[in-house]
Symmetry: C2
Subunit: 371 residues, 2 copies
């Protein structure tokens, strides 16, 4: 079960807002999806995610396949009951982690073989296997296996990876159809490195295969922000208007504003969670580092007016104290604020689009940042 | 403001139940007090402590004095607002940490000088300073500075430490009276090592000084459980019946049952919190280690029938997965269960005493453990 409808279109940019229906409920777009790599958005409870306004979270196929393993999750009829989360879940295919985290990834005609980063055990991930694992996880939105490459890469490398990605997408679609599983939806992933013509070719090939949604992968891998936006500029306009467009692994609030302006609908990123654990907190006027001595006896919240649990109840001084003492509560309280900030930020963009005020939101955003 | 009333006395043991009134609310005894060393019960939010039934928590004078420092906490008018906790707080005097954690503790006539375990800075803790710091922390129950000794220790060492403790108690009482602070209460601490006559002498001296409550310190420092109970047996009966009796830093559920049977009213211990972070979970039939492979796909809760947040929502399999993956949520969910277990365990003792069924509770407790 999957449906997507655009319900508002900005009159002076590509920004749009829509609604996705899944078996586990509705997702309003644009949407920011917190990352729950191992079946937990690091340090947060499911209730805290709901309170922060999370509509959907991510899980990682690579990680969950290795640990705890599909047989365990299958005993719970999927990830939802296992992790106590009843809203939608999107899982990536494992492609990104196999090429970035695993050891000795080797591509063959069949798929990609790799060694676990945990115990060195050897595994083979094929397009069919990626679908099988994600089906077992019970995700609402599942992703095709793609070949991710490093930045920078030559055009020849990008072309080869793109072709593999296209072939795998075809096999994923086939395998997905054979599961006969109407409870989830499969998205294709556009690759092509930092080459506009390859990006367009990748998008065209995927559209020929026909997916319910399209992701743009291989961005935010070390390239300059301007190059990332150029790739979005060539890719997003060729993707079908009536399908959701998901930019994977991006990014900063600035990135989100610019990508929404170009018609992107879905985002995931570890930035709010990972940076929270390093003491970096997001505010409308930029980031602050909570370890800074200036907050030692500061009795104000991280951000005045913020309605998150952390800002409503705790001061910068207390958060700094917890962080300096490496207290476990520090990571949680910081994460609650950052996740709330990202979700609220995208929610405010959504509202702005629906009242056709996106461009003024965008101007206002940069004005605050400059202050 | 402080009042204590015994409201029930077991007919076939020394167990009793009472009510303590403080400025921040009521505490029903026997009570288990979770330890919030640095102004946080490790990994838990204040709301989670309330949900677990915590009536009062501990703070550590030594730790909070060094970090974040009294000047910071003073800006918040004390610990309560700083840490977002509105129920009673008890702080120890710092004596235990100075002798166990700090470096180069040196006793002089004035007090004890030591080096911070964090940055090596030198400090002098006197009885007067201990009262001053705890007054600044705004604790509801504050403790006299005492001299803690290692186990085993010679009788001469114990006698000397006990005499220092008595002199310091006298000075603490004096300093406390001079603060004119009617919002908190000062407890004395009985020392005397593992020598019954010294324990009795210490108790007598403190009763001469006259405190609103009496703690027994220097137990659970490595001695056999039987020796600990012997010391409780000689000490508890000589303490006044109309004052609360607090056994510091103890202990296991077995310890708690036996000490309640001997008339103890208050307990604190890091056991539930520290062991949770090591994967050891308490149940009525004993402890289990969540990392055990047998729980890999176990879809039951830690303890069937347990009403804690963790047991109501998560399986042993998920908790094991989080723990094996060293996920931050593991430490929290484990801690929630263990803290709930200890608080609930003491609450059930309290109820049993009030219906004069303590001895049957005690028998039932051992029967379950043996199963």
């Amino acid at each position: 079960m999957f449906e997507f409808n655009v319900i508002a279109q900005s009159s002076d940019s590509g920004a749009r807002s829509g609604v996705i229906q899944t078996r586990h409920g509705t997702i309003e777009t644009p949407v920011f999806m917190p990352v729950g790599t191992l079946g937990t958005v690091k340090s947060l409870s499911p209730e805290e995610l709901v309170e922060a306004g999370a509509q959907i979270i991510l899980g990682n196929t690579y990680h969950l396949y290795l640990r705890p393993g599909c047989d365990v999750i299958d005993r719970f009829d999927g990830l939802h009951r296992f992790i106590h989360w009843d809203r939608p879940i999107l899982t990536d295919s494992g492609g990104f982690q196999v090429f970035s985290l695993a050891k000795l990834a080797k591509i063959s005609r069949e798929g990609v073989s790799f060694q676990s980063h945990i115990d060195g055990s050897r595994h083979l991930l094929t397009p069919e296997k990626a679908i099988e694992i994600q089906t077992c996880l019970g995700s609402d939105i599942i992703m095709c296996l793609d070949q991710c490459i490093q930045y920078p890469a030559t055009k020849a490398q990008c072309r080869e990876a793109l072709e593999t990605t296209t072939q795998w997408a075809q096999r994923c679609k086939q395998a997905w159809q054979e599961t006969g599983n109407g409870s989830n939806t499969l998205f294709g992933i556009v690759q092509g490195g930092m080459f506009g013509d390859l990006r367009r070719r990748s998008a065209d090939s995927l559209m020929d295969i026909d997916f319910k949604g399209y992701a743009v992968g291989g961005l935010s891998v070390g390239e300059p922000a301007q190059m990332m936006l150029e790739m979005a500029d060539v890719t997003l306009p060729v993707l079908p208007e009536d399908k959701p467009r998901y930019i994977m692994g991006v990014g900063t609030p600035e990135n989100l504003v610019e990508l929404v302006a170009r018609g992107a609908d879905m985002f995931d990123c570890v930035l709010p969670t990972r940076n929270a654990r390093n003491g970096q907190m997001f505010t409308q006027s930029g980031t602050i580092n909570i370890s800074n001595a200036q907050y030692r006896d500061d009795d104000g919240p991280i951000e005045t007016g913020c309605r998150c649990y952390t800002c409503r109840n705790f001061s910068r001084a207390y958060l700094r104290h917890l962080y300096m003492a490496r207290e476990l509560l520090a990571y949680r309280l910081n994460t609650i604020h950052n996740v709330y900030f990202f979700i609220d930020f995208v929610k405010r963009m959504r509202r702005a689009i629906r009242s056709d005020g996106f461009e003024s939101f965008r101007r206002d955003f940069y004005r605050r940042l400059d202050n």
